[in-house]
Symmetry: C2
Subunit: 224 residues, 2 copies
């Protein structure tokens, strides 16, 4: 007999409509650090840990960042993103999906590559019910595309990762899901194309939380 | 004997790195008009005429806009985009591509779905040489995905549209190219996925103007 699937949810681009603001904040922060990059290239790295993102983009431009410079870029990004927070909204269906899962007593958690401090204002928007585990960058050694975040989320719920469904909007969420041996589900709400998410191993791709909720039977999510 | 191909270039996302700022400006403008939409849905409409964009998004949310409301939303977008202009940069290779075409005496033009007034600050960044035709929303009855803009650009160059290559970053550029019977070339620099552009009929897809320039022989662009 298989376990009931638990749902592990990414935060940026999966529950909150915040990916484009992140991309623009990173572009400015990187430019302040002397790294000139187009927004689309940055967009395609959102969802990675901030450290990996800054490093991989620095490598792409052939410009090494010292530890201090990387920290400054990350700090500038946090500041520039915060300045745009008032334009960030919940994605359609985010509230309803969370309520549905809670009502059905499906075990669920939030796992984000962001640091707890930058996730905080987004979580205020999301308002997850008490008791829902929130796993952030600070709780694991490596963020996505490493599997640690999804694995830590399943562990906190006390479910096996092999029975869990990891939902995210980026290629990194899905690669991390495969490495964790969870089932990956993609959402278009982060701005990736459907085929990009499918090629990264998505079991299914939905538009946003509202569309996932509409098709939740496809994931075998049901009342206990 | 075939004619030498002329190159018709889109502006936003093709020469300038301005798509993400447009998407965020439209999100805010639409919200001011009472239409709540996720940024990714708006992103996927950038490159359409502003009128079509506002209308199609209003239809998607089941909310009709009066002519006055549509005009107000467009004005709010123009204002909000302008406020972000100082963060807009040229895309890598844009200058070099234009210089190369001019040096080779390849006929080329710029054709944008934007109104002349909103294209103006971007053109200041692009600095096209004198004599390069600039076709904007104001010059045609219908913007992309209608074929009018590409057709008008070819006409202004005095070349046949069937021999022209239309370069753009959005699905709408490529659909308009097919309707015009031009060859469409896609760029990833507007943030679409490669497969989305291929499925819209792109003959080739490059990363950005720099990557196009690197592979320009694939397009049969050569000195006279």
């Amino acid at each position: 007999m298989t376990e009931r699937p638990a749902l592990l949810l990414d935060l940026d681009g999966t529950l909150t409509d915040s990916v484009y603001q992140h991309a623009i904040a990173w572009r400015k922060a990187l430019e302040l650090g002397g790294i000139k990059l187009s927004v689309w290239r940055i967009h395609r790295r959102i969802g990675m840990s901030g450290g990996l993102l800054a490093e991989s983009l620095a490598r792409e431009t052939g410009r090494e960042l010292s530890e201090k410079q990387a920290r400054q870029v990350k700090q500038a990004h946090a500041r520039l993103f915060k300045a745009q927070m008032r334009d960030v909204r919940l994605l359609p269906g985010a509230k309803e999906l969370m309520q549905h899962l809670t009502k059905l007593k499906v075990p669920w958690a939030i796992a984000t590559s962001g640091a707890r401090i930058s996730a905080q204002p987004l979580l205020k928007l999301v308002e997850p019910p008490d008791g829902v585990p929130i796993i952030s960058r600070d709780d694991v050694e490596h963020a996505k595309p490493d599997p640690d975040l999804w694995i830590a989320a399943a562990a906190r719920l006390g479910v096996s990762i092999e029975s869990a469904i990891a939902v995210g909007d980026s290629v990194w969420d899905l690669l991390a899901a495969r490495r964790a041996r969870a089932l990956g589900v993609g959402l278009l709400s982060g701005g990736y194309g459907q085929e990009e998410l499918e090629r990264a191993g998505a079991y299914r791709v939905y538009e946003d939380p509202a569309d996932l909720l509409l098709h939740i039977d496809e994931l075998g999510i049901r009342a206990a």
